[in-house]
Symmetry: C2
Subunit: 781 residues, 2 copies
């Protein structure tokens, strides 16, 4: 199977290659040097360069693993420079570092909260404006006829707003598309997604999400908050911005992958916390998705950032809404107050909840399956930015049209008195009544969800709910994956709340009222079931839902519903985020190696042969190795310089491409004739300044004379890289690699000689398929 595949990535286009300041070498960490015929490599490593243009159809094979994704390195390169610095820092200085960490977390929380406020206030105002304009128009034309003008107005408004939102995403920063949750999952997992934590991405994301929601798409503004929080965290913790080209010269200690990841975790948690008013849920989200190694101090800091974030949002929004002191808006979406007494559940309802979980699981799987085909279609045919914008506009217009037709056809009129509906559309209802379908369609999705939870029984008739569920399901499914910034949480909740409420009403009806099912409670359970069926998160989602209801009473039924939905859904198809990660061929490492992989050993999974460097190496050799585009390794084992016959050329250390490049750039080498001369010393700062965008080797000029110089790597290499023997089983290798967040793992033989190298793609390649263990092919997509 030759994989001549070329496909649209999250960054949306292949023109990204021009952005070579990001490129630390485009291939995997240690693709085999020669021909790629390592034992475990399969025949899949032929790389064929396709012409750089947009083909009409892009063949896509889902059993691929892309080689274009770099890995992050969560293991400190513990070389002499690093150790010297650490040894110089005394106890008091470490305390300062610790305080800085807390300050950064507080700043992350505050900024994330403020960004959430900004989004909320702008959306509320713009959407309010839009709905008022359309409502006035509809009210006008209802009387004198010609409602098709209203439809046209609504659809045009939506489509034009969405067009702007889609254009900025498609043309300026494609990685800002979608909710960003899969991207953040990948980042925390250790995969480097280009541009994902840049300031530019944040700006596009924020504008994009405002425009998508105002444009009336079936999307929410909650998911993107997670991405926004992560970007804020990455920016603050590094004390500089690439987009702004500003370096504030602060927090330099944190300029490495390990520290940055910890802050990004905090940022993601702060984002969840601001979105749902769920600080604990935020922490759990970060841990569930990211941190493989649990550390109490880190967790506590993450929680602090989360709490600050929701508190900031709460304070600002409370002031904005004029009730400054009561702190009543903990999150962007607030499920409203579920009253204990009215809404408690009884034991006999539990089987019903479990049944709802089954329904949610099936509907979620259906959603994911449909979206899967749609995404495949998009990857193949809709990969040009302009097509993407047109599709987004089409969806916006269709959403408005469907909404309009549904409202138009609905005959569900409810008395306006005592109801809390924001934009009551009278349409063909009697005076003093409003169209009930309009409360669901003619509103921001957040408000519709809360209405479904809390409107008094009888506010919707079953027909309305059924039609709404059906239509919104397909609209939301079509919408997810468009080139706009938007989340899938709220639409999922909305679909679930609608069928949940319908379910509650039917139950009451079928049992002739003997089971009094409060429709609001069933709407909540339906929402949980649907969301769980789509995203398949576990503990964190339970806690998020629990915190969003502000009430721990529902913990147990929500857990049951989510668990059932997950089990049922997993039977059919995987979760939406995992599906999209897989469709992008990202080398994502799951929690554990596939259970049946004990038959594989390090010898079979490793890449071999490995390019090794000698401890004192010729500069020319280094340059040649780094320039070799066919391999593009990122880590090189260092072996003894002069192995004679009796001495073993055992592993001495590991050096990274990025380190070598800094060394070459600073001309850290001596002439061969003067080996006794002391080579120029570098400081850790020189490496940190170059992080994370090390220049490509091509930009460094090395003269012919310099090529003959020698470079001593001893001081810069990590002298104690982690190693595994060849006999170690895949699960064992996997555990070591995953638990420590490694990038390179050297495989050695009994005499400590290097025999291979294990990197992320070597482990991510094995997967548990329907028929047992399967191996993905690697491709230079």
């Amino acid at each position: 199977m030759a994989n001549v595949a070329k496909k649209v990535s999250w960054s949306g286009r292949d023109r990204d290659d021009e952005d070579d300041d990001e490129e630390e070498g485009r291939a995997g960490e240690a693709t085999p040097l020669l021909n790629g015929t390592g034992p475990g490599a399969g025949g899949a490593r032929q790389e064929t360069e396709l012409p750089r243009q947009y083909p009409n159809e892009i063949p896509h094979n889902e059993k691929l693993l892309s080689l274009k994704y770099e890995s992050l390195d969560y293991d400190n390169s513990e070389n002499q420079l690093f150790l010297e610095e650490e040894r110089r820092i005394n106890h008091a200085a470490f305390r300062t570092v610790e305080i800085k960490r807390w300050v950064i977390c507080a700043m992350i929380g505050i900024l994330t909260g403020l960004v959430a406020c900004f989004i909320d206030i702008v959306v509320e105002n713009l959407a309010g404006l839009k709905y008022r304009v359309v409502k006035d128009n509809i009210d006008k034309f209802t009387e004198k006829g010609g409602l098709s003008f209203s439809l046209l107005l609504w659809a045009t408004l939506n489509a034009s707003v969405v067009m702007v939102g889609s254009v900025i995403v498609a043309f300026i920063e494609p990685v800002a598309a979608g909710s960003g949750i899969p991207q953040i999952k990948c980042y925390l997992n250790g995969v480097k997604i280009p541009h994902v934590v840049r300031l530019k991405t944040l700006v596009i994301k924020v504008c994009g999400v405002i425009l998508s929601v105002v444009g009336g798409l079936a999307v929410g503004k909650e998911g993107p908050m997670i991405h926004s929080g992560a970007v804020i965290a990455a920016g603050i913790s590094q004390g500089r911005s690439t987009s702004l080209k500003r370096d504030f010269k602060i927090f330099e200690y944190f300029r490495r992958d390990t520290e940055k990841r910890d802050f990004v975790s905090a940022g993601a948690a702060a984002g969840v916390s601001a979105a749902f008013g769920a600080p604990v849920g935020g922490v759990l989200f970060s841990l569930e998705e990211g941190a493989s190694f649990w550390n109490q101090f880190l967790t506590w800091r993450i929680f602090f950032a989360s709490m600050i974030s929701t508190f900031t949002l709460n304070s600002v929004l409370s002031v904005y809404h004029g009730n400054a002191w009561d702190l009543s808006s903990p999150g962007l979406i607030n499920f409203g107050r579920f009253d204990n007494e009215k809404m408690g559940y009884t034991i006999q309802e539990i089987p019903i909840f479990i049944f709802m979980g089954v329904v949610g699981g099936i509907l979620g799987a259906l959603f994911n399956a449909l979206n899967y085909w749609l995404t495949m279609f998009r990857i193949r045919y809709i990969h040009r930015p302009c097509l993407q914008v047109i599709e987004a506009m089409l969806v916006a217009a269709v959403t408005a049209a469907v909404g309009f037709v549904m409202i138009y056809c609905s005959r569900d009129c409810q008395p306006i008195q005592g109801s809390t509906v924001t934009y009551p559309l009278q349409l063909f209802c009697a005076d003093g009544e409003y169209n009930s379908m309009a409360t669901a369609f003619f509103n921001t999705p957040e408000k519709s969800v809360v209405n479904l939870f809390h409107d008094p029984p009888g506010s919707y008739n079953p027909m309305t709910l059924g039609m709404f569920t059906l239509m919104y399901f397909f609209l939301a499914c079509w919408t997810y994956g468009l080139t706009v910034s938007a989340g899938v949480f709220i639409p999922s909740l909305l679909i679930g709340a609608a069928w949940g409420r319908l379910f509650g009403i039917s139950l009451s009806y079928l049992t002739k009222g003997s089971i009094w099912a409060d429709p609001g409670k069933y709407a909540l359970m339906g929402a949980a079931a649907q969301l769980g069926g789509i995203v398949r998160m576990t503990l964190s989602l339970t806690v998020i839902m629990m915190e969003a209801t502000g009430n721990v009473t529902y913990g147990f039924p929500i857990m049951l519903v989510l668990m059932t939905a997950k089990i049922v859904g997993d039977y059919f198809v995987e979760g939406l985020y995992d599906m999209h990660i897989q469709l992008q061929s990202v080398p994502f490492l799951h929690w554990e190696a596939p259970v049946t992989s004990h038959s594989l050993t390090a010898r079979e999974v490793m890449s071999t042969p490995v390019t090794c460097l000698r401890r004192i190496e010729r500069v020319g050799t280094v340059v040649d190795i780094l320039s070799d585009t066919s391999s593009n390794h990122n880590g090189f084992p260092v072996v003894e310089s002069n192995p004679d016959a009796t001495q073993v050329a055992g592993l001495r250390g590991l050096i990274l491409r990025s380190q070598l490049i800094v060394l070459l750039k600073h001309k850290v080498f001596v002439e061969r004739a003067n080996l006794s001369l002391v080579q120029r010393r570098l400081k850790l700062k020189d490496f940190r300044d170059a992080y994370p965008r090390f220049p490509p080797i091509q930009s460094i000029h090395v003269s012919q004379d310099e090529r003959e110089c020698m470079i001593d790597l001893s001081e810069f290499m990590n002298p104690s890289p982690y190693t595994v023997p060849q006999e170690a089983s895949l699960p064992r290798v996997f555990k070591l690699f995953r638990a420590l967040g490694l990038r390179h793992l050297v495989v050695v033989d009994n005499r400590n000689e290097v025999v291979g190298m294990v990197t992320r793609k070597d482990l991510a390649r094995y997967r548990l398929g329907k028929e047992g263990l399967e191996e993905l092919s690697l491709a230079q997509t």
Copy 2:
């Protein structure tokens, strides 16, 4: 400094040595073979056997690390047998294993919930009986004089109940003393505490806690639930009981440290969940204390067990209380309903809460410091069981006497109408009134806490609260560490609630009512501050408090209070549990290596020389090595059998003492003359059946002929043990060891030859003291 120290351990007495079925070798994992003069060993390893009797004073040095604690091994020994089994198991069989895990978790939840119910119901009835008897007596004697009889009755009742409770703990199972939380922390950290998860311990614990609470001590029944849950989990997951000598032949796959630990985590979580009605808090507790490696599936299962546990408790107690369907008792203690509207907080209260956190931190530190001195005193002088029983009885009698005198002297009378007090003592109050001090003292502590939270403003006068706080503070401090089963959570909450309420009243009074401080809200914050100041838990405690109030509104202030209390408290002295762990000289591994330890390398911390075995080894040599009581290693690196001059004797594997013992027991060896003969094959089952109490080497008879046989270890050793090079820094070694839960880590040189071994004590020995890095001495206590 020679450490000729011998002290009372958690198991309370040295007679424990008779229980040698637990002894897998009493020394550390790999104390140096010869003289213990490894570079990092210090001069502290001389061992002097003291006569086995109780000396009058036991010298105790807090800067010690005991060698008597074994380590658990959370790394699978991945030998051929294991791999063969894993390879035989197909996908479907793994699914069965997975289902079994879920079933076990459900059973853990149900049983933990039932045990909690049992404790609750028995305590309620017995305590009710006691209070009614004493109340009748007081009522009788108030009229006709001679209240000293009542005092005598009360004190005698308490002392005799506590005597029984203390006798069973001191004489039958000393490890059941206290809350068990430090022990479970150690277990989850990887330290083997003898008897800690035995059925006998559970029985004693449950009876002990009932008797302590009924005996009127200043203790709670919540902490012990965590230990109970852990024992239940360990028992169920192994499918057998040592105490009952029954093996149900089920769940044999789970008979190893790794799997058992996961279930024990679930059990501890289920215990927290049942105690406080806090399923999420329970999960976080388990993770914070135990699991270094976060795994989504595991977490989800732990959460399931927690939920089932609180649900079981809730259902049974609801039925017991006669309101079967309303599920209103989620935990043993339930803070009652905090009403949002009445109890919301405003922004200007936040500095006040922070101030309360400071107070809680200082009071907590004071509590811990006092308890520290008390514990030192106890270790030195009160180490005989009978003295321990007498002390417990004394405390019980004093508690009753103090309570009585306080009630007697109090003139705080409150109208009985409209109040919810359970046992109203009229004493010298007017008819229709009750003595307010008696609601605090004459009640189970749980009820007193809830009363302080929810009694209407004005139920207590400030004098009552002040006196109560003062007295209860010292009583609780004296009580913690007695040889009875009891927890410190509830007394801490009670002290905090009392001064918190006092604080609220004073605040309102001092500002002349301009700050209307609801006393109940301040009581809650005070309780959080005090508890946080004592135990110093972080995220988990916040969530537990949040869930116990059934309301997420207080999340932010509770977090602030706990954080402040922790920071302030940590400035003075460490948390109560950590303090007790340290006083027991347990080799506990914290989250990270001390920050300033980068100057140490593996070479300096490792134990050396290491006893190695050859791949094909003489039986006699093996027996001699295992019988050598001066070293008592538990893991042995295996090297190549016949290293000639040109070949390096590199590391080939690692074999455990327990494995060697099983091999010897089953006579797995061949005569030297017939090396070609196939050695007898063992199954993994043979190892599992012996787990976890492998027989001591002394019980295995090896004849003189057999000593000359050869044993081939290839099949049984772990061929890919984790290794580190000598140059690796301590933090690097620590991270690897801690993240993977290792027991042995082999240190190798550049040629893969064994140069040393790192075990738990080598890492736990380094600690961050006031003046920087300090090294604890090792002692055979």
